[in-house]
């Protein structure tokens, strides 16, 4: 057996979608640093197309770049970390899909063109990494939020609007928006001010999704969360807080 056959055999053994050679498919010089910084040194890390990151190839507005992560093709996803290699603050969001589908829609600020990646940890302890390049003229992280310049947001800080939709294929979709300036701390004179934690549970209090937010989430963030039919509930609750300890609490009714 020559070396190529060996690699092909190894790839087959690892399962579908897993690249045999573990070179970065996005060819980013920052990948090594990202791996070292965010993933445990001893962990098995593979690039895996089953972790889908959907974002526009060209983002017109660097302050509000839509991103959807979908790891539902992977079994037993415990947590997902989303990061952008070239952002001054690389970490964007981390989530644990307790009972929700292992995916999340959100929007981010990008400082320059960058890979946007999601690393999903499965029950066996391995990390599966997917991602896509997003091109942008940039500047999204060092600009002040609209909210920081307006007295209005203080009255509405932490306000949640939301809605629940039944999904054709079963289950439900929840979309929710939180009023928050999400300042990165990189604009002169404006300290970091962002949502650190959001927990979605059903009406009985059983957890569905734990979200840990970081500075690059976009202002007034909007989240899209899908709930499988088995966990659809009569109502839902959101609890969270920002880095200044302000509480975020809402009941989501249908």
């Amino acid at each position: 057996m020559n070396i190529h056959h060996a690699i092909a055999a190894a790839a087959l053994a690892l399962g579908p979608g897993i690249a045999a050679a573990q070179t970065d498919p996005l060819d980013s010089p920052r990948w090594g640093d990202m791996k070292k910084e965010f993933l445990p040194a001893a962990a098995r890390v593979v690039f895996d197309e089953r972790v889908r990151v959907i974002a526009p190839l060209t983002a017109e507005n660097a302050l509000n770049v839509p991103v959807s992560v979908d790891a539902s093709a992977l079994p037993d996803v415990k947590e997902v970390l989303v990061f952008a290699d070239f952002n001054p603050i690389a970490r964007i969001v981390r989530f644990e899909p307790g009972g929700a589908q292992p995916g999340l829609g959100f929007r981010i600020k990008l400082q320059q063109s960058s890979p946007v990646r999601a690393a999903a940890r499965t029950g066996d302890g391995s990390w599966h990494v997917g991602g896509t390049w997003v091109n942008t003229t940039g500047g999204g992280c060092t600009l002040p939020s609209t909210g920081s310049a307006s007295p209005e947001w203080q009255k509405r800080l932490g306000e949640v609007s939301s809605r629940v939709w039944p999904k054709k294929e079963g289950g439900e979709r929840i979309r929710l928006r939180v009023i928050h300036p999400e300042d990165t701390g990189l604009a002169a004179g404006i300290p970091a001010f962002y949502i650190q934690q959001l927990d979605l549970a059903d009406a009985a209090g059983k957890p569905l999704m734990h979200i840990e937010g970081f500075e690059p989430l976009a202002e007034n963030p909007v989240f899209t969360i899908d709930i499988p039919a088995t966990r659809a509930a009569s109502g839902y609750r959101v609890n969270g807080r920002d880095n200044n300890g302000n509480a975020i609490t809402a009941t989501i009714e249908k």
Partner: protein
């Protein structure tokens, strides 16, 4: 050869290179006569780029016995200067009025080339240039590079109001509308039947929506369609002799409004709204895909907000 001599030659070569580069910054403006006394400079149906230098816009001028009226000054100082020279090749009449139809950069960043006392616009446009002109200008440098050399935003000093305007025998009607921006001026020359629609009307080029309010824009199109015009000069795209460009712009706006509202109401994430297909009928419009993507980014958050507002969440 000594080091200083080499440096001198290098400097000399660099100087020549810069001169040649500057000479390349030629928009090749070619005014086309579309009616008596009336000339239009049609830009490319493209996005801003280093190749086109921002010349994606239509500008126009009317030569009257009391001087020249210019409608929009183009995307840069260089464009404004070349527009002046193009006018001077056609008439000895001086430019007495330059009107900016609205505050978007490709319509006013050539103002520097004209005497400050000639510049005029609706009050909302003047305000827009004061508040957003600087960031537009910065953005144009990023998008088109050297073409912008020396360009700075200049806001008109003369506020215009709706109504008739007589100039050198031409009876103009100034029509103050809104929807593409907060202040959109259309100008009907009753003497020639030419309607200068500004960016309320696009033709075979998808409309841009950074400041759009779609219902107001559609109402403005109804106003324009009712006017007695024989030629229509859109803000972008070829001149036409019928209401085709108005209807095409309306069809796009109606579709955009309906599609994004429905997407938000069905709970689509923004990435899913971006992936929706464009109707085949819009394929002939230039940059349709890119403008749709931009419009989703600009308009979808408000539709989402509306859709979420009709759900229930309480403290």
């Amino acid at each position: 050869m000594s080091a200083p001599a080499r440096a001198l030659i290098a400097l000399f070569a660099l100087g020549w290179a810069l001169l040649l580069a500057a000479a390349d910054m030629d928009y090749g403006l070619a005014p086309e006569k579309i009616a008596d006394d009336t000339w239009v400079l049609t830009g490319r149906s493209e996005d801003f780029s280093f190749a086109n230098g921002g010349n994606i816009v239509n500008t126009a001028f009317i030569v009257t016995e009391a001087g020249v009226l210019v409608i929009d000054s183009g995307p840069s100082r260089a464009y404004g200067e070349q527009l002046r020279r193009a006018i001077a090749r056609i008439t000895r009449q001086p430019v007495v009025r330059v009107i900016n139809t609205h505050h978007h950069p490709d319509h006013f960043l050539g103002n520097q080339a004209f005497a400050p006392d000639t510049l005029a616009a609706l009050p909302g446009t003047i305000h827009g240039i004061h508040t957003e002109g600087g960031s537009f200008n910065d953005n144009m440098y990023r998008l088109t590079g050297d073409w912008m050399a020396g360009t700075e935003p200049v806001a008109p000093i003369h506020p215009l109001s709706a109504g008739p305007l007589e100039l050198g025998g031409h009876q103009f009607e100034l029509i103050a509308l809104e929807g593409h921006t907060g202040a959109d001026l259309a100008i009907l020359d009753r003497s020639t039947g030419v309607l200068f629609a500004g960016d309320l009307v696009f033709h075979d080029r998808a409309p841009t929506t950074p400041h759009a309010r779609l219902p107001a824009w559609q109402a403005s199109l109804d106003t324009l369609e009712a006017l007695p015009f024989r030629h229509i000069v859109p803000g972008h795209g070829p001149v036409a002799k019928d209401a085709g460009p108005i209807r095409q712009t309306r069809a796009w706006l109606v579709w955009l409004d309906h599609t994004l509202r429905q997407a938000a109401d069905e709970g689509l994430d923004m990435t899913e709204a971006l992936a929706l297909p464009l109707p085949a009928g819009f394929r002939k419009m230039a940059v349709a895909d890119a403008e749709y993507r931009r419009s989703v980014g600009q308009l979808y958050p408000a539709f989402e907000q509306q859709a979420l507002g009709s759900g229930k969440a309480r403290e």
